[in-house]
């Protein structure tokens, strides 16, 4: 465990970057340091591997003062990922990744074999091994950066705004990849970002720092969203924290209606039976995959044309996706009803905005009783 014990960083000109910060960083989970520029989050991270020496206080690694061991030994035991990846332009991808194993005295062959193994782990094609960094996209370079940090299998990974310089689509891919890798490897990760959405998505614990390097709140993301410690944290979380908090509630409890679903080859009798007390019917193909919405009176058995249906938009996966995803589907649907599908993409039911709203109120009541909520995807 990494313990930051009332650490202060004061520069010779009197600026205080970090002010008596204490944090206990739990093992085998992602701890995110987040805050506006000048809040000392990067300084804090760089004090852990002694790229910056604290002015006061101590940092304990597994109970031992980090100053007890030679600085380069300490750094080699912690993976380090920075914003623009910081790859060595003159080395091939495989040799970039092999850097720390080589520093630790591994043979060239062993280090390269390990590097190729990591390329696969971070989702890089083996054909890139002999390329140079300039031949890779920003997202690929950052994957190399992550692979390089993991190469010597360090227990700790320090990541300094690693995904800030790539576009949002690539960033989402990298975040998902990091969560997947973390599921497999279980590293102790300290992650710095200025993006609260990234913090909420990745963090097991989130430390919000305020300008001047003081800790504003240290909590799991769900608690952060439900109970911000003060006006600063609330403001930093942004106006839509209520909506964002829905990410932490599963859609599993939603009452799905299956009656208003008809297949494209439905008989007149089936259509009549389905469309008695609902404004719209969901039409599916013969396999049960949703095609679109229609008013019951516009449907005539045998002549249903998929092109004439109202689009049903992107459905949510019942049980797996969050209430936020379900609400999003309902809001975007032309009928105001969200479509739920099962894991194979077959329609599992439909649900109205009103029903989702009731579920949200129920979940909030539940959530305020116990802040123990686990994150669900979507």
């Amino acid at each position: 465990m990494i313990r930051i014990d009332s650490v202060t960083k004061r520069y010779p000109d009197g600026t205080v970057a970090v002010d008596r910060l204490s944090l206990e960083i739990p093992d085998r989970s992602i701890t995110v340091l987040v805050g506006p520029s000048g809040c000392g989050k990067t300084t804090t991270l760089r004090m852990i591997n002694r790229m910056i020496e604290p002015s006061e206080g101590t940092i304990l690694i597994d109970g031992v003062d980090s100053r007890q061991q030679p600085v380069n030994t300490l750094r080699r035991s912690m993976g380090y990922v920075i914003q623009n990846a910081g790859l060595f332009q003159h080395r091939t991808i495989v040799d970039n990744i092999a850097t720390v194993p080589r520093l630790l005295g591994w043979s060239k062959d062993k280090a390269r074999a390990r590097a190729r193994e990591l390329m696969e782990r971070v989702g890089l094609d083996a054909s890139l091994a002999r390329r140079y960094p300039y031949q890779l996209s920003g997202g690929q370079q950052q994957r190399v950066g992550v692979a390089r940090a993991l190469a010597a299998d360090p227990p700790v990974l320090l990541m300094d705004e690693p995904f800030s310089a790539v576009d949002p689509v690539v960033r989402k891919g990298l975040q998902d990849e990091l969560l997947r890798i973390q599921d497999e490897l279980g590293k102790t990760i300290v992650f710095v970002t200025h993006d609260i959405d990234e913090a909420v998505k990745l963090g097991t614990m989130v430390a919000v720092l305020r300008t001047g390097g003081r800790l504003a709140q240290f909590a799991p993301p769900a608690e952060l969203l439900s109970d911000p410690a003060d006006a600063f944290v609330e403001d930093f979380l942004g106006a839509d924290r209520g909506i964002r908090r829905l990410s932490f509630f599963s859609s599993a409890g939603l009452d799905l209606l299956t009656a208003p679903i008809v297949a494209i080859d439905a008989s007149a009798e089936q259509i009549a039976r389905a469309g008695t007390d609902v404004p719209y019917l969901l039409v599916t193909d013969v396999e049960g995959k949703p095609l679109g919405w229609s008013e019951p009176r516009d449907l005539t058995a045998g002549t249903i044309e998929p092109a004439e249906l109202l689009p049903c938009g992107r459905p949510f996966v019942a049980g797996r996706d969050s209430l936020r995803a379900a609400l999003d589907c309902a809001v975007l649907s032309p009928t105001g009803w969200a479509v739920a599908v099962d894991a194979e993409g077959r329609a599992a039911g439909v649900v109205s905005q009103q029903t989702i709203g009731e579920a949200i109120r129920g979940a909030h009541a539940e959530g305020s009783r116990s802040s123990e909520t686990t994150k669900v995807s979507g």
Partner: protein, 222 residues
């Protein structure tokens, strides 16, 4: 009386290709002066440039030294050294070294300073030693600029090493100095042509060295 006529007359004269005043001997001497002066200049300028560039300190002092070095008149220095020390190779080497140090020193420093700071930060964060960072991260990235500094130094030495002839030493300057004295313009033009060819050969040599020594990753990303 034209230039090409001089050149062809000089090079087609069989007697110019042998003996202690033959082209091979004079070229050999010239190459020897050049290599010696370049080696001494590099031995002084490269370490200083690499270390100051790595730590980012002393840039202003370097600029002053470089300006002073460039302002020293080569020929004046040669005469002064000869008056002080008498005839000898040291008198020739000193001005040549003084001439080559500034370009090597300044480009090495600039080359090291212009290395992208993020790989250096990453290397330090991974636990690489300062010497490791200097030689394995900064030097390979700065190599194209460092080689260009060495190249300028080498070209300047090649063109200026002709002054050795003024103080009774050999090299290609012999043809120019003797030719002028003897009013043998064929010899003057021939010597000058050889100096020009050697400068071109130096360029070609540095091009070849940079093809081999500079990583394709650095060459293409610049």
């Amino acid at each position: 009386m034209n230039l090409l006529h001089f050149i062809s007359a000089f090079f087609s004269d069989g007697s110019h290709w042998q003996g202690y005043d033959g082209i091979p001997t004079r070229v050999g001497e010239h190459v020897q002066y050049t290599l010696e002066a370049l080696a001494i200049a590099a031995a002084i300028a490269l370490p200083v440039g690499l270390v100051t560039g790595h730590y980012g300190r002393g840039g202003n002092a370097l600029a002053l030294i470089a300006t002073a070095g460039r302002a020293l008149p080569t020929f004046g220095l040669l005469v002064l050294m000869t008056l002080l020390l008498g005839f000898g190779l040291v008198n020739v080497m000193t001005p040549l070294v003084v001439l080559a140090v500034p370009p090597i020193l300044v480009t090495t420093y600039e080359g090291m300073r212009s290395v992208d700071p993020s790989p250096v930060d990453a290397a330090r964060g991974m636990g690489m030693s300062e010497a490791g960072i200097l030689f394995q991260v900064e030097l390979p990235a700065a190599l194209p600029l460092i080689l260009s500094g060495l190249r300028s130094g080498a070209i300047q030495i090649v063109s200026t090493a002709t002054i050795a002839a003024y103080v009774s030493l050999g090299g290609l300057g012999r043809y120019i100095v003797d030719g002028l004295y003897q009013r043998n313009y064929e010899k003057v033009v021939g010597g000058a042509t050889l100096v020009a060819l050697m400068a071109l050969a130096t360029l070609a040599l540095f091009w070849a060295v940079s093809r081999v020594a500079v990583s394709p990753g650095v060459r293409r990303s610049n």
